[in-house]
């Protein structure tokens, strides 16, 4: 599920730092490693289900192993940013949000992959917060970044950059306000799927609910300014971001037969910086 998001991330980070990706082969093969490993981790859902202890060892180890390629990716993205010509536009803000949320979700994943600790936090808000950080915070952030990145390509219109940035920041803040308190709640023993709780949990529950409102606002904002851009946005050229990639060599939106002749590509992927042809 998160794999397409990881691919999007490499596009966004390189396009808005105008730099070639750091360690292309490592980034590419770590995707494959995550894909392969994630087929072999289902047992980490069953640590307290009566599964054999030895199978628990195996699944715990395999779940830990996923952290290695994930960390490689995060390090390589940040290394790509280093000394790049960074433009803090809305898609990049979403991408940076992804890195933050993915790291938080990933490191708490390590806590959950530990057999003994998992028995303590099993079926609590800690688990809920962890997988939301990966599947909603991380993945949806990357997809929103992708939507903003390719929006001019899809519809040929630019959206409001100002509101795009506001939305990206609102989502990041709202998400953390919603789910970070849930880590604390879960660790203190708040189980999932209960409407009732002891009074000392009240404060964190209120924080979380307030965050949900902010998050909803952040997710709804693009609905308005993106729809607005369809009619009133400035016309987008073929390559508004100065991005590499074949899709940016044809007009926006692409014509029906986007390439009359099959293009021959002689350079490697992510040949940044791209000369600005049209801005």
């Amino acid at each position: 599920m998160v794999l397409p998001a990881l691919g999007v991330m490499s596009e966004l980070i390189t396009a808005f730092s105008h730099k070639r990706i750091f360690g292309y082969a490592f980034v590419a093969f770590s995707s494959i490693a995550i894909a392969v490993l994630s087929f072999m981790v289902w047992g980490h859902h069953m640590f307290v289900s009566g599964q054999s202890m030895y199978a628990g060892f195996v699944f715990s180890f395999l779940s830990y192993a996923v952290a290695v390629p994930s960390a490689i990716k995060v390090y390589n993205w940040t290394a790509t940013l280093y000394k790049g010509r960074i433009e803090l536009k809305a898609p990049l803000l979403y991408a940076l949000g992804f890195i933050g949320l993915f790291v938080a979700g990933g490191t708490t994943g390590l806590i959950l992959a530990a057999l003994a600790v998992d028995v303590h936090v099993h079926d609590t808000y800690f688990v809920v917060a962890h997988f939301h950080y990966i599947m909603v915070g991380g993945t949806v952030s990357a997809y929103m970044g992708a939507l903003h990145f390719w929006w001019p390509k899809i519809f040929g219109r630019m959206y409001s950059e100002f509101w795009g940035r506001i939305a990206a920041l609102t989502v990041f803040l709202g998400f953390n306000l919603t789910f970070f308190p849930q880590f604390i709640l879960g660790y203190l023993g708040m189980p999932r799927r209960y409407h009732d709780y002891p009074p000392e949990f009240q404060f964190f529950h209120v924080l979380s609910s307030a965050g949900a409102l902010i998050l909803a606002f952040g997710y709804l904002l693009p609905l308005f300014y993106l729809t607005w851009s369809l009619r009133h946005g400035a016309r987008a050229g073929a390559n508004p971001w100065g991005a590499a990639g074949l899709e940016w060599t044809v007009s926006s939106p692409p014509p029906k037969h986007n390439f009359k002749e099959i293009p021959t590509v002689e350079h490697e992927a992510y040949t940044y910086p791209v000369a600005y042809e049209d801005k």
Partner: protein
Amino acid sequence: MSERTLFVFVYLVLLGLLATTIGVSYLELGPWNPVLNLSIAAAKAFLIVWFFMHLNQSAGLVRLAAFAGLVWLALLFTLGLADWLTRPDGWMS
């Protein structure tokens, strides 16, 4: 040997294997019964897949795709059995 003759020959071998597997099931071989019967089934499946499903005439990539299915199945069985074969006695009670 024409392809037609080959297919009929494979078919006869398959019927022979079927007769063998039924015969084996009447013998009392203890743990060897499942081993033999499953090996015969695997042999039959190989014949069908290799000849009838044209894998003998297919490119390497297609063979690899067919093999990939087996790899996922192997994952399911290896990691699944890693659980069920190592549970302590009497875990259910």
